[in-house]
Amino acid sequence: MDSTLKNVFDSFQGKKEELIPILQKVQERYGYLPEDAMLEVSRFARVPESTVYGVATFYAQFRFTPIGENRIMVCRGTACHVKGSVGILEEIERKLGIKEGETTPDGRYSLETVACIGCCSLAPCVMINKKVHANLTPQKVAKLFKKD
């Protein structure tokens, strides 16, 4: 076990009910939940590894791949949905060759969905890092990644 993980575990007792806070702390340190770390959590909290995985996949906050340099958040709020955000998401997935919740193999992008960015009048929109891209169409999505 590496020292990062050991540090995390030091602040817990290794009880079943601590599972979610432990996973949150692990993710805080690594940016995601590495497989080996989840195995260690399973041993430490005495919870089966399948349950650790079950809990981690239940909550949207946990991720299983390292976060990319650029964080893409596709809004899936009501307004964006009505204006076709599914198509936007699919286009980005196709373009980057990854699925929601994943990171490109080169580590440049990670893709996630969020419930609402808070600018429904600009729907459908996507936030890349801190910048909002508004009134998107699948064609415009292509341009978002063109300059790279």
Partner: protein, 889 residues
């Protein structure tokens, strides 16, 4: 049992007070739709289909609601129908409708519910979501997982967690995306799955389904041929082929549960490699021969053999009747007591040790009592691998709140469920146990009343305890003092306490001492003669208990009656009508030495494979080549059979009638499912045919039932056993007469010793024979894989071979680092006696300084390395400890 009266749909029902409404209804033939309920599991009430109306007011799930006196239940109202319809429609909306080609067809609970409620196809279409077809996991050799057919009832999740104790899957994701998943969604074969198929057997739909789907034409009830647990099985037969096996829910031993070998390991029965005709070696090559030719040759050669030149090795895989006939043949026809079998290599110290301390060398208590123990002390047993169904019981006990203490050099699976884990150095069991006993005595935790009333020789034992202080124990065993104390206190105070052990205790040059240490600690704490207590050696082979009971041992007749006791000798001479030798024969290990000395010249080997199982295998190979005449009787041409002059094809367990005696002394019926494959014959019949060709009397049996009659007449502990009585249940010996219902628990009032008292035995710590040194710095210990059995003649014939392909040398990462060796590379393991190549597995399951290997694989014969130094009493070789070095080849 208390009963209550309730009314379900106007029907008056009297039912047990501990039942739920659903159980009461199903017991009385009233159907209530249900999907997540399974009789073996705790109810969870998640499918909501078993909703009923109680007392005309509230609705509740019937699977979780206990019955109450006067309760009035309606299983269907307009409101309930509505709730059920919505739930089922949502399940069915995206469920495949190709029922006819689904393996769940006719057994599917969803089908049954749909037909009960009645489904409107048009409404279904409107509910259908965009179809997402999830990939089917076909990675396991025996079953597939199709998440598209899953109804998320969670029966597999609960089965894996609560029945098997593996927890390989759980619910993952959320909402529409919910699915049953392994950790990280890994394919079954890469997951923690142990392939027992318990989930497959319970899946109410076709999501977890066996790969082989054909239905059997008929089923035959018999006993599993693998380990000593003795699970009841139903063999499924189609034509002349055994195609399936399922657990027998009515068998008290396994209650329907099985492990991977029991459920799927039947592929060997109809395997093309089976021996189908006698073989005679001519000019170094085997040639097929007729039975007449082979039997004439064997009979002629045996007839020329002097008593002391003959030795027989019987088989713990064969039935009681087969073993009885082999020992009778050796004694009555060949005139020698030199008959032994592989118990010599596994539990000879249990027979010798427990006979001294308790008077009877067998499990004192029964498998079914494990779940009610408050403390389980498992030492030297990797129960999960070697006795999987007993491991289910251990885990059940833990689930019910028992303390589990595991003492094992390796971090075996059971450690995960244990509260106290003691990783002692291999071979230091006496030091560990005696130190625990010293703690118990020092802290005054012993059971004084029990010691005074039921035991003897306490003072001598007490004196010998003095040397085992905690400092010495910590230094010798490597276990921290505090842990030794904690384990001692738990075992002494959490009662009833049940001690389980296996080959980690016995396979040592001080194996008998180890066994005596286990009986000492049980006597000291009063953990004998009561339910869920005792000293319980877990026997390895399906019928190793029976082979011992039936006298396939050189010093005793059936029922452990000593050959050198005059009245016993006379009894058997009269019964068998012939002169018998009163000189005990030589043991398994000694037979091979005697072959080297040219004192034993003829060997008759029935269903055993010492070329792989005997310690110091090179010594065995050389011996087998020196024999004047060597007959092997087996179902396959084993590594040993290749040395034979004549090979006689035997019928497997599925092709003969008989009985097996399991580890808890339960004699159970083995039934013929198919005719013997090819020209093979049952073992008892082959031996009888040889005897008859030698013109000997007493071998005119038409069927094994007649043999059992003779056994019962000569063996006091089997006196009350007849095939008729065994028809619907097993009987645990001692069962002295036909009025006896058998004895599930030994020593409840008296011990079986001469004085009737349990005997404490003073002990000394003796180090293992061969300790690591500079040239051979590591300890090699042998172990078992869950997926193979013994020398793997039966298990390397199909899917089990996929689950475990080759020998692995398990080594701690620290040792691998020091030696510069990498996981997965081929390494050479060298001992003073030989060398073996195998694949390295770097794992922290193995402690520093210890490597482990199984002995299942003929291409990496581990026993070439092991030491044949033997225990002076039990003559068992020390296969658990020898010194080796590991290097790049």
């Amino acid at each position: 049992m208390d009963t209550v009266n309730i009314v379900i749909d106007g029907v008056d029902i009297e039912t047990g007070a501990d039942k739920t409404i659903l159980e009461a209804a199903l017991d009385h033939g009233i159907y209530i739709p249900h999907l997540c309920y399974h009789k073996d599991l705790d109810p969870v009430g998640i499918c909501r289909l078993c909703m009923v109306e109680i007392d005309g007011r509230r609705l509740d799930v019937s699977c979780k609601t206990p019955v109450r006196e006067g309760m009035r239940v309606r299983t269907e109202t307009e409101e309930i129908t509505k709730i059920r319809r919505v739930a089922v429609e949502l399940l069915l909306a995206n469920h495949p409708t190709d029922c006819l080609s689904c393996s769940g067809n006719t057994k599917c609970e969803l089908q049954r519910i749909a037909s009960y409620i009645g489904i409107d196809d048009r409404r279904m279409k409107s509910l259908r979501r965009k179809t997402v077809t999830l990939p089917i996991d076909t990675s396991n050799p025996y079953f597939d997982y199709d998440p598209n057919r899953c109804v998320l009832c969670g029966i597999c999740v609960r089965t894996c967690a609560d029945v098997v104790g593996v927890s390989n899957f759980d619910f993952a994701y959320r909402g529409y995306d919910s699915l049953i998943s392994t950790f990280m969604g890994k394919p079954m074969i890469e997951s923690r799955c142990v392939s027992c198929g318990e989930c497959v057997a319970r899946c109410p739909v076709g999501a977890l389904r066996p790969k082989a789907v054909p239905q059997p034409a008929r089923e035959v009830r018999t006993v599993c041929p693998y380990c000593g647990v003795g699970c009841g099985i139903w063999l499924g037969v189609r034509g002349e082929t055994v195609i399936a096996s399922r657990g027998d829910p009515d068998n008290v031993v396994n209650k329907g549960r099985l492990c991977v070998k029991g459920r799927f390991g039947h592929e060997f029965i109809n395997h093309p490699d089976r021996l189908t005709a006698p073989l005679i070696k001519k000019n170094g090559n085997f040639e097929k021969a007729s039975w007449d030719e082979a039997l004439d040759l064997v009979a002629a050669r045996f007839a020329k053999c002097k008593p002391d030149e003959f030795a027989a090795l019987s088989s713990a895989k064969c039935t009681n009747e087969d073993n009885y006939i082999v020992q009778k043949f050796t004694r009555a026809v060949m005139g020698t007591n030199t008959v032994d079998h592989c118990a010599r290599l596994c539990h000879a110290p249990s027979v010798a040790g427990l006979a001294q301390s308790f008077g009877s060398g067998a499990m004192t208590n029964s498998i079914g009592e494990i779940r009610n123990a408050d403390c389980i002390f498992a030492i030297g047993t990797n129960t999960t691998s070697a006795h999987p169904v007993i491991a289910y019981e251990v885990k059940e006990a833990v689930r019910r709140g028992a303390v589990l203490i595991v003492a094992n050099p390796r971090r075996i699976d059971l450690c995960e469920y244990a509260q106290i884990v003691l990783h002692h150095v291999p071979g230091t069991d006496v030091a560990l146990l005696m130190a625990m006993m010293k703690v118990i005595v020092d802290e005054d935790l012993q059971d004084d009343r029990f010691i005074e009333k039921r035991c003897e020789n306490f003072e001598a034992f007490f004196e010998s305890l003095e040397r085992f202080d905690l400092e010495f124990a910590q230094k010798t065993t490597g276990v921290p003092k505090e842990l030794i104390c904690e384990a001692a206190r738990s075992y002494a105070t959490r009662k009833p306490g049940m001690l389980l052990y296996a080959m980690g205790i016995t396979q040592h040059t001080h194996g008998t001492d180890n066994v005596l240490a286990t009986s000492n600690i049980a006597l000291l704490t009063g953990n004998v003669g009561l339910p869920s207590t005792g000293v319980n050696p877990l026997r390895g082979q399906n019928n190793v208990q029976g082979a011992c009971d039936l006298g396939a041992l050189p010093n005793v007749y059936p029922g452990y009656q000593k050959v050198d006791r005059p009245q016993i000798h006379t009894k058997f001479e009269e019964a068998w009508g012939t002169k018998l030798s009163d000189k005990p024969g030589i043991t398994h290990t000694e037979i091979f030495d005697a072959i080297h000395d040219k004192t034993v010249k003829v060997l008759y080997e029935v269903g055993e494979n010492p070329a792989l199982s005997e310690a110091n295998a090179n010594h065995v190979y050389a011996a087998l080549e020196k024999l004047d005449f060597f007959v092997v009787q087996d179902i396959f041409l084993t590594e040993t059979a290749r040395y034979a002059d004549v090979v006689l094809p035997a019928a497997s367990f599925a092709e003969k009638d008989g009985t097996f005696t399991n580890t808890e002394r339960r004699v159970q019926r083995v039934r013929k499912a198919i005719n013997p494959v090819g020209d093979s014959k049952p073992d008892w019949l082959i031996t009888c045919l040889i005897a008859k060709r030698m013109k000997k009397h007493g071998f005119d049996f038409d069927n094994p039932s007649q043999i059992m009659e003779e056994i019962a007449s000569l063996t006091p502990s089997y006196g009350g056993i007849t095939y008729k009585r065994l028809d619907d249940r097993g009987l645990q010996w001692p069962c002295p007469n036909t009025d006896s219902e058998g004895t599930p628990m030994l020593h409840s009032e008296f011990f079986a010793t001469v004085t009737g008292k349990g005997k404490f035995m003073p002990l000394q710590y003796k180090p293992s024979y061969e300790l690591p040194d500079e040239e051979y710095p590591l300890i090699l210990t042998t172990e078992r894989s869950l997926y193979h059995f013994h020398t793997a003649t039966m298990t390397r014939k199909g899917g089990l071979e996929v689950l475990r392909k080759c020998e692995l040398v398990e080594m701690n990462p620290k040792d691998a680092g020091t030696l510069g060796l990498k996981n997965g590379e081929t390494v050479r393991v060298v001992s003073r006696r030989g060398e073996v190549n195998a694949t390295l597995l770097v794992t922290d399951i193995s402690p520093v300084g210890v490597v482990s290997m199984t002995f299942h694989f003929a291409e990496s014969p581990t026993n070439v390395l092991t030491s044949d130094a033997i225990d002076p009493v039990a003559k068992i070789p020390e296969t658990k400890v020898c010194a080796v070095r590991v290097e790049r080849p």
